[in-house]
Every structure is written in C-alpha cells, then in structure tokens.
C-alpha cells in the first residue's frame, strides 16, 4: 500500500508517518463509534494509545484537535 499525504504545512509525509496517521484515525474512529461496546481493558488501553498517538499527529502537523469528547 503506497500512501501520499501532506501535512498542514504542505510537507510530504513519509510512508511510515502516513501509516501512523492512518492508525490514529482508525483508532479514534473506533473509540468514537464503539467505545461504549468495548470491555474496560480494551477501551481504556485504546484511549491511552490514542493520547500517545495524538502527540504524533501534533508533531506531524496534522491538527488533531482535542480528544476530551472521546475520553482522552
């Protein structure tokens, strides 16, 4: 799978950076849509991972916004 993605500074992200962006987005979407269905261990660990991946999004200039609604 080849990605092409630019950040908000119009800089190209590397393939591995793109993959992390995808992971973040998928995790955020999963927790938003299915967070209440997940068992405690899965939801809380998912949130902790999301909070860590938020730092990646922030560092890549992807404007991740806030996460309080999701619980992180």
């Amino acid at each position: 799978m080849t990605h092409e993605m630019k950040n908000l500074m119009d800089a190209d992200l590397s393939e591995s950076e793109c993959m992390l962006v995808d992971v973040y987005r998928q995790l955020a979407r999963t927790l938003e849509m299915y967070g209440d269905e997940l068992p405690p261990f899965a939801r809380r660990n998912g949130l902790k991972a999301l909070a860590a991946l938020w730092q990646v999004m922030n560092g890549l200039d992807m404007d991740p916004g806030q996460l309080y609604d999701v619980g992180a």
Binding site: K48, A51, N58, G59, Q66, Y68
Partner: protein, 453 residues
C-alpha cells in the same frame, strides 16, 4: 533517524517563516477552542474584538488581552477550586497539580486530561533528547513527587524515551546520593540548588560523585541553572554536564531547554508555544537582545487554554541560528534572568538576587549563602550576605573581603556586609531555594515590615 540529535527533526529545524506559519495556524485553533469552551475567555476575546478567523499573522496576537496571575487567582475565587479558565468538565481530568507554594500565596490549581498529560511528557522529551539523553540511560529523579508538578513530566518523559527511570521520592539526601551511585545513574534531574546539596552530601559521605557514572544533570525550577558560575560549580562538583530547563505549573511542563551544544541559553519549544518578550511597563515587544518580560501562549494543554500569560520572568531572546546545534528555534540567552518583582531597591541601587548569586558562586569555597536585608537603627537600609565556608583551611577573611569588594563594584559602590556564619546555620532547599530574606521595616514605624521576602 534513531540517531537524530532532534526529538522532532522537521519542527526543530524548520525555516523561520514556517515556524511562524505553524504558530499562526495553532493560534487560530486555540482562539476558536477557548472562545467556544470557556465563557470567561470568550468574553475577554469578545471585549477585545478578537475572533479566530481574524488571526492571520503573529501581529494579530497583540490584540488578545494579556492574562495575569491575578486574573487566574480571581477566577479560582469566583469559581473554586479550579477557576474560570477551564475548558472541559472536571470528570475528563486524570491529573491534578498545583504550584509549589514556596511564596506562601494560594497555589494555582491545574487539571489535565489524558492527552494533555502525554503532551506534558512530550515537551520534556524535547529537552531530554536535545541534551543527549537516550534510551540506554539510567535516569534518577531527585524530586518529592507531591502535588507540586515539578519533575513529574520529566519522569514520564524518561519512561517514554525508554530510560530506566528511578523515582527518587520520599528519600533523605544521603539515600538519594547512595542510590545514584549504587544504581549507576547516568542522568540526574533536580533543582540547581539540590544538585549542589547532593554534591555536598556526597562529600560528607566520602562518595566521589564526580567520579560516578553520572554524565548529565538536568536542572529545572530555578534560574540558577543558567548562571555561569553556579553552573560551573554544579558541573565540577557533579562531574557531569548540566543542562538547564524551565517550566511553569500554568503550562504543566517546560517551555525551554538547553541543547547539547550548551550555548549559554535555552531554546524555546516554538512548535508548541509562542513566547513574546515585552517591556513590562509598556507591554510593547522588545527587540532581540533586549531584556523584557516573557508572555506565553501555549498550544498544548487544552484543559486550561493559556493565551498571552504574563509570567514576570525576565529574559533576553536571541535568534536560534546563534547556536551551532542547527535548531531554528530562538533562544533565551542566559535562560530565565530573574523575575520582574525580584528586584530590591537598596539605598537607591537596584539589587537582583541572581546577579548577587552569580558573584557569590565565583567563590567555590562558599557552600551556602543568604541575602539579608534589614533596617539599621530604625532608619537605614542595609544589605548583608551571610556565607558558610566549610573548609577550615580556607582564607575566610580574604574571601569575605574580596566578595564585599566585588559586590560593591557590581552595584554602584553599594556597601554589602559579608559575614561568615556557622556551618549548618543557613537553610537548605530541595525545591526552589529562597535565599533572600527581607527584614526591612517601614522607616518611622515601630517595626512594621516593609515586604515579605
């Protein structure tokens, strides 16, 4: 990339115009967030006629009202216990911290969500990585781990980096020194004052701290980490390179750090903050190279949006390119130079505690000192420096005489009394040192105190 000298290579070396573009975009987001989530901030912005969509350049920052500590405290009075500047319900918080309370004032109370707390550690990662700390390191944190935020973020940054992180809480100084040596710590984090205290304790225990495995000292909590003479003493006694950092409870973490090049200043983490330097009287920006007051805007902690917060810290900003490390982030030359309200007027002469410390620390024989202001004969301000000189062989008379002259020469011939006191007489500090005691009275009264030191 794992051998990169930068934690975030793209951001730390980006062109200045890109740094500014990034800051403008983040500022716009911050204004929008504060406006939508915090009624108190929304009113301030509305009164100033500021909306997010009007933020187009860094010049627009000037239109946002400056926030003071008094504003913060008033908010805590009106909406206890956390104040008016909270963007999210308390239930979303995972951490509560507060200021150290060394000034005796009511503490500032802060809350953080999960991603805020990760961000707090992230800012420390910039500092640790930038000073050369790596996953192979053993990091000892000489800190009390209380509700004071202190080195909490550094601890989590150490874990994030992959260091073996040793929490040095609830220990006496001798226990800390022994553990540093026994565990082979390669990095030690503490206040500058406490770094000297540990070196002193090591000597008393017959431990050669300078010959231990410690290679780096991470300093924070006091301006002394960038005073050249103090830093030199810390490095000599600790046998390690010392890197200065500075942070604030109001931000939750550090905003500046010294890189491995040790340029005599601290880089501003400019992808996560805007640091303005203003004339404290006029609030107008001062030029690079001129001293002014730090006013900070933070993009990290969403729980408590900080926009143009007046810090009272005195700094001198210089361009990042003056450092050889390759970062484009501006520097505070000499770190935090002192506080706007630190200055004492003694018989018409300005006395800054940091400047006094810089001179006292040129005399390594002096172990501890205190600046004492008092009123003589009920009508004359006096200043004396109390010093402890542990080495019985040292020429104490010569040292105090030289110090008197050096202090006078640096202060328009103001007379300083320098007095040697018995060992162990002066207080020792683990957190922020308080070495100035102002016992002056209001002249003409029966002893009404003029100031609380």
């Amino acid at each position: 990339m794992t051998d990169s000298p930068y934690w975030n290579p793209r951001h730390e070396t980006m062109a200045r115009k890109d740094v500014e573009a990034l800051q403008v975009r983040k500022l716009r987001n911050l204004v929008e967030w504060a406006d939508s989530q915090v009624p108190w901030q929304a009113k301030r912005l509305r009164d100033a006629g500021v909306t997010a969509d009007q933020i187009r350049s860094l010049d627009d920052l000037q239109r946002i009202p400056i926030m003071t500590r008094d504003d913060w405290m008033q908010g805590q009075v009106e909406e206890p216990p956390f104040g008016s500047n909270v963007a999210v319900p308390r239930e979303s918080a995972i951490r509560y911290h507060m200021t150290s309370g060394t000034t005796g004032k009511t503490p500032i109370r802060v809350l953080d969500g999960m991603k805020d707390w990760e961000w707090i550690a992230e800012m420390w990662c910039y500092g640790l990585w930038g000073f050369g700390v790596r996953p192979r390191d053993v990091l000892f944190v000489a800190f009390g781990y209380s509700t004071f935020i202190g080195f909490w973020g550094l601890h989590y940054a150490g874990e994030k980096l992959g260091c073996l992180t040793l929490p040095g809480g609830a220990m006496a100084t001798d226990q800390r020194v022994k553990q540093i040596v026994d565990m082979g710590a390669t990095v030690v984090a503490s206040t500058p004052t406490y770094a000297l205290r540990m070196a002193q304790e090591a000597r008393a225990l017959g431990i050669d701290l300078a010959g231990s495995s410690v290679q780096r000292l991470i300093l924070s909590g006091e301006p002394a980490g960038s005073i050249p003479a103090t830093k030199k003493l810390i490095q000599e006694e600790g046998g390690a390179r010392a890197g200065d950092t500075a942070g604030m409870t109001e931000l939750g973490t550090i905003m500046i750090f010294e890189c491995g090049e040790q340029p005599g200043g601290t880089h501003i983490i400019e992808d996560n903050y805007i640091e303005e330097v203003l004339d404290p009287e006029s609030d107008r920006p001062v030029a690079h190279g001129e001293m002014g007051e730090r006013v900070v805007t933070s993009f990290g902690r969403g729980f408590i949006p900080v926009m143009r917060y007046r810090t009272r810290d005195l700094v001198v900003k210089v361009p990042g390119m003056s450092c050889r490390c390759g970062r484009t982030w501006d520097l505070y030359e000499g770190g935090i130079r002192g506080r706007v309200d630190d200055m004492k007027l003694v018989r018409g002469t300005n006395v800054y505690p940091r400047a006094v410390e810089a001179i006292v620390r040129e005399h390594p024989e002096i172990d501890e000192f205190q600046i004492h202001l008092y009123t003589a004969e009920g009508r004359r301000d006096e200043i004396e420096i109390l010093v402890e000189i542990p080495d019985q062989e040292a020429d104490a008379g010569g040292i105090t005489a030289r110090l008197e002259k050096e202090l006078a020469d640096a202060h328009e011939a103001l007379r300083f009394g320098v007095k040697q006191v018995d060992l162990g007489t002066l207080p020792r500090f683990e957190l922020k040192a308080k070495r100035l005691v102002d016992d002056r009275i209001v002249i003409g009264t029966e002893g009404e105190r003029r100031a609380q030191a």
